[in-house]
Structures are given as C-alpha cells and as structure tokens.
Symmetry: C2
Subunit: 341 residues, 2 copies
C-alpha cells in the first residue's frame, strides 16, 4: 500500500508508523544501526571498542502542562528511558527547541525548570542545545527534541532479539496512565481528577533490575502504541510468540473505566513511565523484587511469557483471559490519540 | 530587558538569541558543558577518558528545496559541521522528524534521499531516529532535528577560548551565499539564477587543515548571524579584539549586489558551507593552502587577525576598509531573515 501524503497515523507507534519507517526512511538510509530495532542504538566507540547508546525523540504533546508532568519533563524522561533500555547509564542530552512566535516566556521558563529538575533526578547533563523560532501559525507553541548518549558497561548486551521461549514478561507498573491523562485533559472529561501521567526517569530502576537479574534480555519503553505495539515488535524481532494473562496486567480502575467508556484497548494506550522487560524464568522473581523496591516499580508484575513460534507462521502475541479464552493482541493500526508525547 | 513572549529575533543567532539563552536556558540548566560556548560540546567518556563531540540543530528552513540544496541536505551538513568544529571525526547522527499531516510523501522521499547522499559523502551513519506527525496547521510541512556524535583524537583541543593576539582569522570561502539564496527564492527576486546555497559537509576540509596546521585554535560555523556574530562570540569567549580587512573578505559580486539592493550587511548573512578559523600566524599559510586544495575551500582567504583587548573594555570586532576607515562590526540585533536554516 502506497501512502501519498503524511497522515496522523504515521506518528502512531502502530502499523502505519512501521510502514513509513520501512518504505521511506529505511529505503533511503537503512543503516545497520537503525536495523537493530531497539529503543536506542548500541554503538561502538572506535578508539577502544567500548560502547555507547544513542537515542532521539521529539515531543509535540498537547496540552503542554498536564497532571503529573509537562512537555519538558516528558522530553527528559523519554530520552533517558530510551537510552537506559540498552543497559547504558545515560550521561548527556541534547535539546533542540522549535518555538512559535508569541509563546509566553513564563511557560518556557516553567518548562525549562521542569527539564532541569528531571535531568538532575536522572543524573544527566544537558550538554548541547539549539533554538529555532517559527512564525505564528507554523507551530504549536513549543516542540522539543532531545537526544541522549549513555555509556554501556562492558559485559552488558541487551536487545529484543535475545528473547527466548520460556522467558517471563514483566511490566514495571500500571498501564495506560499517561495516555488517558492526556486524553482527559484534552476532552475535559470528568474522570481526570484521579489520573496522573506516569512520566518518570527509569534509569535507576533499570540499573536495579540489572544488578538483581543480570541475565535480563531487554527493556522496552511502551509509549505510542502501548504494550500491544511493544510486544508485537519484540516477538517479531526475536522470532517468537508471546502470551500475556489479562488479569495479571496492572491497570488502575479509573484508567480501565475511562478506556471502557471511550472504547480504547488499554493495551494500546501510551505510557511514559513504565518499562516492559523480558527476563529468563530463573531470574524473573529477582527482577520483580528489584522493581517493587524502586519508587517507580511498586505495581510491577509478571504478566506472561515468551513461547515457541510455529514454523512457517508469523510471530504472534496472544492475551489469555480469566475465563480461559484467548485473543490475538494486534498492533495499533491507525491513530488512536495523536500528539500523546 | 525582559521579553514576555518568544519573538522571531530569539532565533536569529544575534543578541536576542543570546538573551534567551542566558536568561532562560542557562538560568534553568547552565551545565559546564553548555558554558563551553563552542559549536559542539567536548565531552569525556568515563570508561577511558577519551573524548567525544556532541551537537544538535533543528531545521525549519522554508522553502524546503532551493538552489544548491534542501532541508535534508542542510540537516546533515549543519550537524556534521558543528561536530567537526571540535576537531572530532563525526560518526553517528540522530534524526527526528516533525511532519505535518498532508505533507507530500514524494517530497519526504526526496528529502530522505538527499540526507542519505550527504551522510554518505560525510562518512556518517544515521543511527537512530524518531517521527512525529502534527495535525494540519500546526507545522510547516517538515521540521528536522539532527544531533551528531564525533570522536575527538587524543591530542586535539580546539575552542574559541584559545584564540590569542597575533593569530590570523581565515574563512574557507565566499560569504552570504546561503542566506541570499533563501531570500531570493522566497521573494522570487530576479538575481537568484546565479546564486546557490553553499551548504556542504566540511569535516574533510577541517581534517585537512588540522593535518597541515595542527596548532589551529578553533573552527566556527558562521550560520545565523553570519561572520559578525561568529567573530563577536569568539572575541568575547577569548577576551580579545578581532579586526578584519573588508577587501580581503571573499564575497561573490551577485551576493554583494543583492545585499546592497536589500540593505543587508553581508557579514551578518547566514552561511551553511563555510568555516571561520583562527590559526597561529606561523601556521596560517599552511592552513590556507590546505583549504584551497579542498573542493569546498577554493575561495579561502586570510581576512584579519586577533588583537589585544584594552584593559577594562569589552571585546570588540572592527572592520578596516580599503580607504583606511574603521567601523565596529556588531552582532545582529533583531531578526534579518527568519527560518534560514
């Protein structure tokens, strides 16, 4: 299928996004590094063969301020988390602003203060930056791009391709909080009082898990497209099936209620302060304990496992329900909620 | 002076931009790395003490295609050049797109092909990327952020702070080509047939100069704000004065004519394929020869020198004219031509 113009769904984290990545970007410059397919590229430093992780994300969320965070907080957390998924210790960030003429300076200062606070919590330095201003009507107040560099300890090799049948699938907490918060702000829905974005820097949590469960296969940031996109990507990357047990997936009652009301599958809703992790079965309990001992992992859970893929068939993700039925968990197709991050 | 909203001039590369950097960004998170004040941050890799260069730039130029280049070509050149100013060998780039709903896919493919070609010429890999789509009316087709990483050879230490009285100031070619090209496209001016953007990856040229003149103090990319902003920044950074001889500064006759017609000072017009370099006097001829032997440096020239600053006075940049008069070369104050890169 050939798209003739850019559509909102191309930024969704779902199958349309895959299409633009494969048909446009990979076609033009499909480097080995891009083909790794993890949240951060794992790169060799030529001088000494040591490794660094490198990732980038642009942030276009609206509204700019929401319960639990703001676009600046998100811009730091998102990139710190992507870098940390590789097992790297995030060290330096770049920050590029695209500001719209007329954007209030007080809002910009508030956003920058939030970035400074979050960078400090995560232990990273904003090392380089750029500012562009576009004329009124050609932006939406503020867009922020961050990129990040982290250094990967010698013995660490993580990546979605390492998942093996028998491994356990963990999430570090409740799903859907960020997406439903943004939605409720935008639509001014009544349930929003009890819901907050989960955006948080998770490099400390990842480090704790890797100390406790050094065999951990991978971490993945279930942002756009939610758990559904993440598990589908991982299973395809590793050539395996994955299966999760619905009642084990932690979801806040108010988020579940909002999803039911709005007709969303919570497993496709974006998160900004959660990790999906795949861990060998014999280290899964240790990983879970490490998550639960961290501020940002109190609601962590083992939710399923990696399974053998049938020969000649595509990888598949299934959800088993409490009553024993099974459904296929598909990637998001179009766009559920644009500009979630 | 307190700005209450963001103005176009805050993206100019001139004094207003300095104000937003100092009053907003540095106030919020003024890290040591940001205070270095060079085009790329010079960072230590903790494992072994070796160093990397890191820089970022967002590209919002309009039109997206212009004689001599396009937004994609610019997005690679700009960041490669900023990284290379530190003496680093650029290795990896990140690329974040902010696309507007409805942007033609053929344009996107053409831009990506141009990025691929330029990255190949510069010898860098696009290693990580991100794509966001904003709704119609909230962008301008395409904005691109790139960041870049390069590795700095052990014995190289470059930076504006190293400039010393007696050093020579060089430029690698004619000034104003990029800015006047964009202007002429936008205004559909008749002189545009003979003018092309100079955008080019200059890492090879910089490497050549450093081989020939290893004592070179610094390179700086005279983009927004042109030579005027670059020399004012350098002289302030090093606590020196600088003086350039007007008739030694290479400017194409058609660019000079356009500037006269439009009332622009060519020394404040943006370049995208030129470097300003400061070199000790005894290596200046060697540096100049190396520039002239490179495809992108044929019109290189020694244009002036670094001078002692008077005690108790601010750093100052002066232009001496052929008839013997002298004028102060100020930084651009407001905005001359928005969205030049």
């Amino acid at each position: 299928m050939e798209d003739t113009t850019v559509l909102l769904g191309h930024g969704s984290g779902g199958t349309m996004m895959r299409r633009i990545i494969d048909n446009v970007f990979m076609q033009a410059y499909g480097t080995d590094e891009l083909h790794q397919g993890n949240d951060a590229a794992d790169l060799v430093i030529p001088q000494d063969g040591s490794r660094l992780a490198y990732s980038t994300d642009s942030f276009v969320v609206t509204p700019h301020f929401f319960p639990g965070g703001d676009i600046g907080h998100l811009a730091i957390c998102g990139t710190v988390n992507d870098v940390a998924t590789s097992g790297a210790r995030p060290a330096y960030l770049s920050c590029g602003f695209i500001l719209e003429e007329g954007f209030p300076m007080t809002d910009l200062k508030r956003i920058c203060a939030s970035m400074a606070k979050t960078a400090q919590e995560a232990g990273v330095h904003i090392a380089t930056g750029d500012t562009k201003v576009v004329n009124r009507g050609h932006g939406d107040g503020i867009y922020i791009n961050t990129s990040g560099i982290g250094f990967i300890p010698k013995d660490r090799h993580l990546g979605g391709q390492l998942c093996k049948p028998g491994d356990k699938i963990l999430v570090t907490g409740t799903l859907g909080d960020h997406g439903i918060t943004i939605m409720s702000c935008r639509e001014q829905l009544s349930f929003h009082a009890n819901i907050r974005s989960d955006a948080a820097p998770l490099n400390g949590l990842i480090e704790d898990v890797l100390q406790a469960a050094p065999g951990t296969r991978c971490f993945r940031d279930p942002t756009r497209g939610g758990l559904a996109s993440t598990l589908n990507e991982l299973s395809e990357q590793a050539g395996v099936n994955m299966s999760v047990q619905e009642e084990l997936i932690p979801v806040k009652p108010e988020v579940r209620g909002a999803c039911e009301m709005l007709g969303y599958d919570v497993l496709q809703v974006a998160n900004e302060g959660k990790m999906v992790s795949v861990v060998p079965a014999d280290q899964a309990d240790a990983a879970l304990r490490a998550m639960k001992n961290n501020t940002y992992g109190k609601d962590a859970a083992i939710i399923g496992e990696v399974e053998e893929k049938e020969a000649q068939r595509d990888s598949r993700v299934t959800v088993r329900t409490a009553i024993g039925s099974t459904r296929i968990l598909d990637m998001l197709v179009g766009e559920q909620l644009p500009r979630i991050c």
